[in-house]
Amino acid sequence: MVLTLAFCVTAFGAPKANEKNNQTDAQSGLSLGDLGFSQQDIQGDPRFQKDLETRSDMLRIHQTLGVITAIPMTTEFILGLTTAGNVSNGSQDTTLHTTLGLTTVALYGTTALFEILAPKPKGLKPSGNTGVHESLSWIHLPLMVVVPLVGDMINDRIANHQPIGNLGIVHGAMATTLLASYLTSLTVMTF
C-alpha cells in the first residue's frame, strides 16, 4: 500500500516537474539571442550615441540660427528695394544695405557650418523633407556668394559715378530667388 501511494505521488508529481522544466525551456527559448539578430543589432555603441548627440546639438543650433538669419535676410531684401529706389533718384548711400548684407552673409555662413560640420551617421542619405531642404541649399548657397559680389560691383559703379546698367535688375532677381529658396527651405522642414 505504501508502494502504491509512492507510485501515485511520483506519477501525479510528474506533470508538475515537467511543467517546471517546460517553463525553464520556455524562458531560455525566449531569449533575445534566439531571435536571430546579429551581434551588431543587439550590442550598444556608446560612440554612435555620442555622435548622434553631437549631431542633434549642432543641428539644433543650425535650426535656431537658420530662423534668426531669415529676419535680417528678409529685412535686407526690403531694404534693397528701398535702396534701389534711392539710387535711381541719385542717392549714392548704400552703406546700411551693404552692412546688413554682410551681417546676413556672416549669419548664413555660421548656420551652414553647423550643418556641414555635424557628424554624419554612416549611410545617411537625404530623404523626405530634409532631402528637399538640402536640395534647396544648392540654389541659395551659391546665390549667397554671387548676390553680395554683384552688390559689390554695383557699389563700385555707384562710387565711380558709372552707369549700373542691368546689374541692379540681375542683383534684384538673384536676391528674390535667394530669399524665396531660403524661406521655402525653412518652411519645408515644418511639414
Binding site: 507510485f7 520556455a26 527559448g29
Partner: protein
C-alpha cells in the same frame, strides 16, 4: 498482486498522459510595427518591418518575446529618424523588446481577441501595459494574423520630447501592431 497492479495502472496512466502534453511554439512570420508622433505643425508616421519574435505556450498560458531594432524604423525622412535614434538613446539601447503574457490560446476555438500583459523595454527603461487588446483578424490552421496597439508615453521611458521651432511633440505616442504568427506544435 493483481490488485496492486490495477491501482498502479489506474494512477500512472493519467500521469503519463499529462506529461505527454502539447507544447506550442509560435514564430513571428511577418510584422509591421508603426508609431505616430504628433507635433503642432505635422503628424509623423514611422514603421518597421524588421521585428522578430517567438512565443511558447505551456501550463495554461503563453509567453511571447518580440524585438525590433530601433534603427529599422522609417518615417520617410532619414534625418528625422537619426534624431529619433538620438532621443531614444538607440546607440546604447538598440532594441525595443516586448514581453507579452496571455492566457493559453485555444486553437480549437480561435478567439476574436487576445488580451496580453505587455512589458516594453525601450530606451533603457521597462514599462508595463496591462490587458492590451489584440484583435485576431484571421486564423488559419497554423497561422494567426493579429493587429492591435497601445499608447506609450515618452516621459515613462525617460525620453525628452523632440521639438521643432521650440514646439515639442505630444507625449502620447500610439503604437500600431500588425503581426502574423505561425504555430508549431511539438509533443513533450
Amino acid at each position: 498482486m493483481k490488485r496492486f497492479l490495477g491501482w498502479f495502472f489506474a494512477f500512472l496512466t493519467p500521469a503519463l498522459a499529462f506529461s505527454a502534453g502539447e507544447k506550442a511554439q509560435w514564430i513571428l512570420l511577418k510584422s509591421e510595427i508603426g508609431y505616430t508622433v504628433t507635433h503642432p505643425l505635422h503628424v509623423v508616421h514611422g514603421k518597421s518591418l524588421s521585428a522578430k519574435g517567438k512565443g511558447v505556450c505551456y501550463g495554461g498560458h503563453c509567453e511571447f518575446l518580440v524585438a525590433v531594432p530601433v534603427k529599422t524604423f522609417d518615417s520617410g525622412d532619414q534625418n528625422r529618424d537619426f534624431h529619433m535614434l538620438e532621443v531614444t538613446r538607440a546607440g546604447l539601447y538598440p532594441l525595443i523588446e516586448v514581453n507579452a503574457k496571455t492566457a493559453e490560446i485555444q486553437t480549437e476555438h480561435p478567439p476574436k481577441a487576445i488580451y496580453a500583459d505587455l512589458e516594453v523595454g525601450f530606451a533603457g527603461k521597462k514599462v508595463q501595459y496591462r490587458k492590451v487588446k489584440l484583435d485576431v483578424v484571421e486564423w488559419k490552421s497554423r497561422e494567426a494574423h493579429i493587429t492591435g496597439g497601445f499608447t506609450l508615453s515618452l516621459k515613462a521611458f525617460g525620453i525628452a520630447p523632440p521639438s521643432l521651432l521650440t514646439m515639442p511633440v505630444k507625449d502620447d505616442v500610439p503604437v500600431q501592431l500588425d503581426m502574423t504568427w505561425k504555430r508549431e506544435v511539438s509533443g513533450k
